[in-house]
């Protein structure tokens, strides 16, 4: 069955489903008519190096997808829709075995001003070492991003997606396999679009996989940013940490739901997830629900937690005694809060670049 037929055959999700509790499918569908799979445009996508220098050999963006993705551990509903919609809007990022780059690589995605979609398949070769930024910009009313693929044995990859759409809705779904001994930092920076629905899934099906999933989310005005993150430990000696920081201002709402599974046989798995929410106004709202499913007894650890709160008044006072005025102090504390996860996403060059991107958003903050 092809993806379009599959999507149309599935029962539409309802609020009882954990994944759709806070953001109904109808709200993130491009037209609102959930029985429709509309024709969507292609964004402009280009691959380069963060400082504008020449792309090193061994990394290439090709048109077309690398075979049929495996959606067995993903949301069949979202992914069949996105896959069907992106039938003529597919790319594959091919990274050769042993590829290495000290400078971060940037995948620029410009959605333009009309609804568009992209399916990007990641084929990250064995023992490659590099940092990848996927920056989504544009002013389209709707953008869909489906990322599938695998990070192969022994690769060391920092993979950051930064969403800076000027308006509209972004629907994103990741389904990434982390192979044997691969080390991945998967970062999400979200500060654009009026509505975001993300479903991020990382599967460690081979031993020694290691992933840190990090989020720096800034919501303002009446934004609605809903991120669902799943990390699946399906092999021994796998390691994961999820650290998600959301700063929520205006009348906005952020949602972070996590699902951590440790399958029977994943001995020595070590996993933890924590959500922190910083509430910047009385009208802002943040919800976090971390969940665990542990089927193996012999684990190193498996924990979860969540913390919500306003800006710390003692921290404010400390900065004020150092000459920061009210706005400076507040902005610095929000930046610091987001920076706690941002700084973990990659090396110094990547971090500085991300801080620069986010500082523009902070300047415009109207909490």
């Amino acid at each position: 069955m092809d993806s379009a037929s599959r999507y149309l055959s599935l029962e539409k999700p309802n609020k009882a489903d954990h994944l759709w509790r806070y953001t109904p499918w109808k709200k993130v569908h491009p037209t609102g008519d959930v029985s429709e799979i509309p024709l969507l445009g292609q964004p402009e996508i280009s691959l380069g190096v963060i400082d504008g220098s020449d792309l090193p050999p061994g990394i290439e963006l090709k048109l077309g997808a690398a075979g049929e993705p495996d959606f067995s551990r993903s949301s069949a509903f979202t992914n069949s829709f996105l896959h069907a919609s992106a039938e003529s809007s597919q790319w594959t990022l091919v990274v050769d075995k042993g590829f290495s780059s000290e400078k971060p690589i940037i995948l620029e995605v410009d959605t333009g001003d009309s609804p568009s979609i992209a399916h990007i398949s990641l084929e990250i070769g064995k023992t490659s070492e590099f940092e990848l930024i996927t920056r989504v910009t544009g002013s389209s009313e709707w953008f869909g991003l489906l990322r599938t693929g695998q990070i192969q044995d022994g690769a060391v990859v920092n993979d950051v997606v930064i969403g800076l759409l000027e308006r509209g809705t972004m629907l994103r779904s990741d389904s990434i396999d982390i192979c044997r001994d691969a080390q991945v930092r998967a970062g999400t920076v979200s500060s654009g679009s009026e509505r975001t629905k993300s479903d991020l899934r990382y599967i460690m099906g081979e031993s020694g996989g290691n992933i840190r999933v990090l989020g720096s989310i800034l919501s303002t005005d009446s934004m609605h940013l809903d991120h669902h993150i799943e990390i699946h430990h399906e092999a021994p000696e796998t390691y994961s940490r999820l650290s998600w920081h959301s700063a929520c201002g205006g009348k906005s709402r952020t949602i972070g739901t996590g699902m951590l599974t440790i399958r029977k046989g994943s001995r020595g798995a070590d996993a933890a997830q924590i959500f922190h929410n910083l509430l910047l106004s009385k009208s802002a709202e943040a919800d976090s629900i971390p969940e665990l499913e542990v089927m193996e007894n012999d684990v190193v650890g498996c924990g979860h937690g969540t913390a919500n709160g306003p800006i710390d008044e003692e921290q404010m006072f400390y900065l004020k005694t150092r000459g920061f005025d009210e706005d400076d102090a507040k902005r610095s504390l929000i930046a610091a809060f987001l920076n706690s996860t941002l700084s973990e996403m990659g090396g110094e060059a990547l971090h500085e670049w991300l801080v620069g991107e986010l500082s523009l958003q902070l300047e415009a903050l109207n909490a």
Binding site: Q315, F317, K320, R322, G323, E326, S332, A335, N339
Partner: protein, 262 residues
Amino acid sequence: MNTQLVPLILRDNLRLPLLEIKDLHAGIDGNEILKGINLKIGPGEIHAIMGRNGSGKTTAANVIMGHPDFEVAEGDVILEGESLLEMESWERARKGVFLSFQYPQAVPGLQVGNFLRKSVASIRGEEEAKGAAFREKLTMAMESLDIPRTFMSRYVNDGFSGGEKKRFEILQMMLLSPRLAVLDETDSGLDIDGIRTVSEGVNAAIRGTDSGALIITHYSRILEHVQPDMVHVLLDGKIVSSGGPELATKLEERGYEWLKQE
């Protein structure tokens, strides 16, 4: 009368105190903690306040700096002729008041280097926070306090040991060159070497300048390294005794009980 002294006496009488605390009554949540404090610190002077736990020492520091939780019922706090009470704490900082905290706040995510630059720019002006002169001043201050370069990339007070926090407070004081430094139990939790290092920092920042300092402490050890001009004893929200440095020695030997009996 030695007529040559007259102009000096007149000049000194005309000089405004650096800090003047007048009949200060203050507290928190409706509880009066300070019950009428009077204190004058002249330019170039270092004063010490000693007292038992709960006597109001930290409250005095917080009121001088403008902590929003503390309410002033009566009296005034005046810096160089200007009342501080209506000013926000950041305005007081920009006027030259510095508070070294007993328990400095950690700010995870805020890098020390960025924090220091921003703070110096806010208080001393943008020009003083950039260029070779700033870097040189920073390097010298860090070396004098035995603070390694790696500090710059750490987060403010995040994971710092007790001694590192106190040295970092003094580093900030040295960079900000305040008019008045209030040091709230900066010596607590420091070993002997730490006290000596911190004391050298205080002496370097205040001695030989027309700035002043108010050292709040339980112990006389720091006062052996930073010789105060005056020592005041705070008991139950009132200054019950004032004197020279010998008063600190007497308190170390005899405790506070004898003051109650006098």
